[in-house]
């Protein structure tokens, strides 16, 4: 379109984006600054943006201070990945059923599914704990994976259903005409076609699973080796000191993997939301 921005509009846009990004990134900046400060300099006012004793020390020392740190980061990734895989295994068939098949109580049950979003894990914590105990899952990865999966299923179904609905019905009918079974069609036609949708949903599930690892881990797991990063970070809180610089360094280090995943897939994600989610 020829409707170009004037110089002032352009400046305004960049200024606006600048302010917006400042708001978004400020905490990360603060975390980064903190990670650079030596422990005895962390609490020093007035606020300093730079001082000679800033260094990347914390990034090396944190591995010694909490020897399991690497393990925690790995746990986080492992748990999020497992949640994603398990959730997708459950979500894909269900989303397909809701997109394509007719069965009694279809809309009602979908509504019930979606209403799961109304329950915070915190509200159901005690009964969940009992359940985990009865199933013998306490202090295993499963205790952190399974509740995570359950709370992500509804949104996943809802998102993926949108993609499945976008696949022309004729694709399936054509395969059906050729004698392909439902599973064959699902495998050879539907899933490849829903590829971008699967990426979007899986990424969303992964990110959410990564972001919400605190409550279940703290409650259902007491095995120090299995903790995800957000819980592992608490180890920087000592009896006498909180090692803020190392904690922030560890936090920033720990979020890099997921940021990388996101960076890699964000193209699909933004485009994918246009295609799938925003249909209503």
């Amino acid at each position: 379109m020829m409707d170009r921005y004037t110089l002032w509009q352009r400046i305004g846009i960049y200024a606006g984006i600048g302010v917006f990004l400042t708001f978004i990134l400020l905490p990360f900046f603060e975390m980064f600054m903190t990670s650079l400060k030596p422990l005895n300099h962390i609490f020093r006012s007035p606020y300093q943006f730079w001082s000679d004793d800033f260094s990347f020390d914390a990034y090396t020392r944190m591995w010694e201070r909490v020897p399991n740190l690497g393990r925690y980061i790995w746990n986080s990734i492992f748990i999020a990945t497992s949640v994603t895989i398990l959730a997708m295994i459950v979500i894909v068939p269900a989303a397909y059923a809701y997109a394509r098949l007719d069965f009694p109580f279809k809309t009602q049950s979908l509504g019930l599914f979606l209403s799961v979003n109304m329950f915070a894990g915190a509200v159901l914590l005690i009964p969940l704990y009992k359940l985990m105990r009865q199933l013998g899952l306490l202090n295993t990865y499963w205790a952190m994976i399974i509740p995570g999966v359950a709370f992500l299923i509804p949104t996943g179904i809802w998102l993926l259903r949108g993609y499945f609905e976008k696949i022309p019905k004729e694709m399936e009918e054509a395969a059906y005409m050729d004698g392909a079974s439902r599973l064959y069609t699902l495998r050879r036609v539907i899933l490849p076609l829903a590829g971008p949708g699967l990426v979007v949903v899986a990424t969303t599930v992964f990110i959410t699973a990564y972001a919400q690892q605190y409550l279940f881990a703290v409650t259902f797991n007491s095995d120090g080796k299995l903790h995800p990063l957000p819980v592992g970070l608490l180890q920087f809180i000592g009896y006498q000191n909180v090692e803020w610089n190392m904690m922030m360094a560890a936090a920033l280090t720990g979020i890099t993997p997921v940021l990388l995943v996101f960076l890699f897939l964000q193209r699909y994600l933004v485009a994918g939301l246009t295609a799938g989610a925003v249909k209503e």
Partner: protein
């Protein structure tokens, strides 16, 4: 290769009756086209034949065998969809090979069959591409390729050309006709484009509101439309309908009075008509010519080269359309007279039924 019979097929969607009492017998190697306005049930009927949709009642016989309950693949039919339904993630080769893969044919056989289909459809050098890299007409051919590798007894097409532009549509029309002859196949073809119907069909089924209005060859429909609906639906531009009153009946036919007072005797079977009855006289634009007769003011002229289509209005507001020779020198806004040969007229009674024409042209083929 096969005959196809439909016996009193009906279809309801809930309370909505979409098809009622469809009886149809399609001959071996016949090219039958379903036409009709949007929503009349063409696609539904085709899908019932394909087995994609279950009929509410009625039976389907292919080669005399009842296949009403058979799965599509067991009916020996194949179908080409309006959207082509190509698999964008598979190569052209794999698209065409899809039915063979489903049937788990050995690789060599798959290769041979796909090669043959590709050869027929001139797709041999495109086999490695993806559907997204092909033009509309080529995609159309891939869809056909997928349907012929299985050697079905009956081919079904649902508006296969409607996504193509005019020039390509004309081309594909010719190709499809040739293909039908080459494959010696029975084909059922759905369209709402009556030019396609007229040019391709051996016989045409005109559907309206879930019923068959008429089933016959194109020329039969053109010259002997059974109803007012068929008459106006077939032929482009549409047939003009001029209201008139029956003045009398006789051996030469029906005598009618037009609103402007003109009286004319038309050579049709006047059975059941009584003086004073209101009828409509149908005249195709191509049967109107300049001359003493209906006085029309020209509104718009469309000069197509070989012909000029003249749109205008009679004094009483009735819109008429005439196809005049391309070299006619008339102007928009001019008043002209239009006349026609009585033998070219169709007459419809108040219920829209035709009165049989006596001097219709001999039917081709």
């Amino acid at each position: 290769m096969a005959t196809l019979e439909l016996a009193s097929i009906t279809k309801d969607f809930g309370a909505h009756k979409v098809l009622s009492g469809i009886d149809l017998a399609i001959r071996d190697r016949e090219f039958v086209v379903f036409v009709g306005p949007s929503g009349c049930g063409k696609s539904t009927l085709l899908r019932i034949i394909a087995g994609l949709e279950a009929a509410t009642s009625g039976r389907i016989l292919i080669d005399g065998q009842d296949v009403s309950d058979a799965a599509p693949v067991d009916r020996g039919i194949s179908m080409v969809f309006q959207s082509y339904a190509l698999y964008p993630h598979l190569s052209i080769f794999e698209n065409i090979a899809f039915p063979l893969r489903v049937a788990r044919l050995p690789e060599a056989e798959v290769k041979a069959k796909v090669a043959r289909a590709a050869d027929i459809l001139q797709l041999t050098d495109k086999l490695a591409l993806k559907p997204g890299q092909l033009s509309g007409g080529q995609r159309q051919r891939v869809a056909i390729g997928r349907s012929i590798v299985r050697n079905p007894k009956v081919f079904l097409f649902d508006e296969p050309l409607s996504n193509l532009d005019a020039a390509l549509r004309g081309e594909m029309r010719v190709e499809l006709s040739a293909l039908q002859r080459d494959l010696d196949a029975t084909m059922v073809y759905v369209t709402h484009d009556q030019i396609e119907a007229m040019t391709m069909a051996h016989r045409i089924v005109v559907l309206n509101k879930g019923r068959i209005e008429q089933f016959g060859s194109p020329m039969e429909l053109y010259h002997h439309p059974a109803t007012r609906f068929v008459a106006t639906f077939i032929g482009q531009p549409n047939m003009n309908l001029i209201p008139a009153t029956v003045a009398g009946t006789g051996a030469e036919g029906l005598t009618v009075d037009f609103h402007d007072g003109t009286r004319m005797t038309l050579p049709v079977d006047p059975a059941g008509a009584h003086p004073g009855d209101r009828v409509e006289v149908g005249v195709r634009p191509e049967n109107l010519r300049l001359g003493q007769g209906l006085a029309m003011r020209l509104r718009v002229l469309e000069r197509l080269g070989g012909t000029t289509i003249a749109y205008g209005m009679l004094a009483d507001g009735l819109k008429l359309c005439a196809a005049l020779p391309g070299d006619t020198t008339v102007h928009e806004g001019e008043d002209v007279g239009l006349t026609f040969t009585p033998a070219d007229a169709h007459v419809f009674d108040a219920q829209g039924r035709v009165m049989r024409r006596r001097q219709a042209p001999a039917l081709a083929a």
